[in-house]
């Protein structure tokens, strides 16, 4: 452990604990998943950064969406995200979740993933190199330090709008709302 960080640990041990042990759930859509096995295994060894694959979304706090998201997978993405315990961080990997990428005029992929679930960071590229995951994770550390990786809080706050967008894209959802559907009045 870095001695310079001892004060941080004493001030906020919970935050530091979740920061250095990111249990990742990889959502294997599209081509991005090809980059994941070398990251986990000996060549790039993600465990140096405290990242390990989680067996189930209920035990994970880092959500990597690696590739395009179709309407069918969006359903699974939302369900996976809602099952994860707080604090949870999401990273969109590759250019497809950012704005559609090469599928920008496809009839069946959603274009901007952050309309449906909150995203803390993006990794641009088609495909990004495996090293970029570690750059993203170190960025995520500073964001957690500063308290701006607050996507899960935003999700609670603006759940009304997120759920409305999900319903608009997917039709009727067959699971109940996760948070109360409150709409804040403007000016409050």
């Amino acid at each position: 452990m870095d001695r310079n960080q001892i004060t941080k640990w004493i001030k906020n041990p919970k935050k530091m604990g979740s920061k250095y042990s990111l249990w990742a759930i990889y959502f294997c859509t599209g081509c991005g998943i090809i980059e994941i096995p070398p990251i986990l295994t000996s060549r790039w060894d993600a465990e140096r950064f405290g990242i390990k694959p989680a067996p189930s979304p209920r035990q994970a706090n880092l959500f990597l969406i690696t590739g395009y998201v179709t309407l069918k997978t969006l359903k699974a993405v939302v369900r996976t995200y809602e099952q994860m315990p707080d604090p949870k961080y999401t990273v969109g990997f590759g250019s497809c979740p950012i704005n559609g990428g090469m599928y920008w005029d496809s009839y069946n992929t959603i274009k901007k993933l952050d309309k449906y679930i909150p995203i803390d960071g993006w990794i641009a590229g088609c495909m990004p190199r495996p090293e970029s995951i570690f750059i993203a994770v170190t960025h995520l550390w500073t964001m957690i330090d500063k308290g701006i990786a607050d996507g899960y809080e935003k999700y609670k706050e603006k759940y009304f709008y997120y759920r409305k967008n999900q319903e608009k894209a997917l039709g009727e959802l067959d699971w109940p709302p996760l948070h109360p559907m409150k709409k804040k009045e403007e000016g409050q």
Binding site: S106, N108, I110, K112, D114, Y162, N165
Partner: protein, 163 residues
């Protein structure tokens, strides 16, 4: 064997055979005779249906159905056959080939979903991949993807800035 097969196809079934390469032929046939040709070819040893595909010739008002067959028999030369036929675009009905090649079932479902071709006699023509109902089947040439994307996904507003 190959020469006699070509002669038979041309004389018995009134189809034109084009030899693209030594082991790859294209057969263009009338739509009424496709089932007979498939049955005949299966008897000749072409017992593997690799793919059923479709092309939308919008200017001619036709769909082109494409059956790709190949033979895996050890004693014969390995060959690919492409069987093409055209059906009218206004009334895209065709007969199912499940009773000849059983693995035609998912291909026909896929073509029904993406091109709107009806295969009479198919036990379940339900959507295979897609989760949403499209007015025009999405692989037809007159399906305007950009307009569709703008209308469906572009109309969903970003959550950023909302309270």
């Amino acid at each position: 064997m190959n020469k006699s097969l070509k002669k038979k196809l041309e004389s018995d079934f009134d189809s034109s055979v084009e030899i693209l390469e030594k082991n790859g032929w294209t057969i263009t046939a009338n739509k009424n005779q496709v089932l007979d040709i498939l049955r005949f070819l299966k008897g000749e040893g072409f017992d593997y249906l690799a793919l059923i595909s479709c092309v939308d010739w919008i200017e001619k008002g036709e769909f082109e159905l494409i059956y790709i067959l190949s033979s895996y028999l050890a004693d014969k030369e390995k060959m690919h056959l492409i069987l093409k036929t055209r059906i009218p675009r206004k009334k895209p009905d065709f007969e199912t080939t499940i009773h000849i090649f059983e693995n035609a079932e998912p291909y026909e479902r896929e073509l029904h979903e993406l091109f709107g071709v009806n295969f009479n006699g198919h036990p379940r023509l339900e959507p295979l991949f897609l989760d949403r109902n499209y007015k025009t089947p999405p692989f037809r040439k007159d399906f305007d993807t950009r307009k569709y994307v703008e209308e469906t996904f572009g109309s969903i507003k970003s959550v950023e800035g909302k309270k």
